[in-house]
Amino acid sequence: MKKGADQFPIEDHCKASGLSVYVSEQDARKAIEDAARINPLARKSVVVKAVVDAQWGLIAPTPKNGNSHHTWWVPKGKTPGELFELVVSV
């Protein structure tokens, strides 16, 4: 379980244990921009993109306010960092 996931209600533990990703680059950029207004760490974030298939685990749509937010459960032992390429610094 990811750090902090246990503070959510038990029915949300599954979602809180995944990684947040966006299908739309625009949504990813907006999420970072919104977070960066209030949080210094978010200002260090960048948008990266990758194409994943079944060997990289499962994703499910978990929209926030109707956006393209998905939750991605990465299999143990996989390192998603190797998949991604930088799109742009926000």
Partner: protein, 243 residues
Amino acid sequence: MIFLHENAQFGRLNIEETFLYFDGPRLFTVVNAVGQRYVVNCLDIEEKEETWLLTAVSERRLAALKDGELDLRTAFVAPELDRVFKVTASPAGQLSHSEEMPSSKLTGDMLPLAGALLPSSEQIAAHVGAPFLARSLKASVVLLRLFPKTSQHEAPAESVGGLLTSFGEFLKEKLRVAYQRADALGGQVNASLVPEVNVVGAFASSLGIEFAVRGNEGTVMEALRSAVEDLASVLDLENLEDH
């Protein structure tokens, strides 16, 4: 969830409410065993060390932050205790260093942008209704804080006294009507009883009201429940919270 394990400076700090979560809580409130509360914002995360900025907040200031009356940056640049704390800790929550900083030493890269407001909590707040309160407290005194749905501006000081007095009278009348209704139905409440209503204060768009009621507990609480429901309806209240 523990933010910081027991330490000499802050005690043990538990995360109370999270406002920004990405790969872990990033902006949240923490509280220790004696009720000291801080707003915590994440500055940096490295493999073995995390850096955070803490500002102590009173209940009143936290309410102002949540209501959007106060921007988040102000909570750090004008802290109520005249200082903020920059702490480093292990990812497991062991405090490794704490530095007390005057707000004048804070730089822009450590702060929220000017005007940025505290976002809504990531947790869904449990709705606490007046009937639930009346049932669960089983008490003859209920103290409520009332939160309107939209941001409100505080009234000029000279108007507040008159407003609160009028509001107290309004509530008393509501209770009196509820008493009469209960009296007519079951005869367990003496309709001639004068309910006591005390409006005990107002701040940051919220209001504290103390109801002192006498008589058969169950029936009186039913009358109080009915009055509070009427009140919630009239005021278009979003939330009722007990203290």
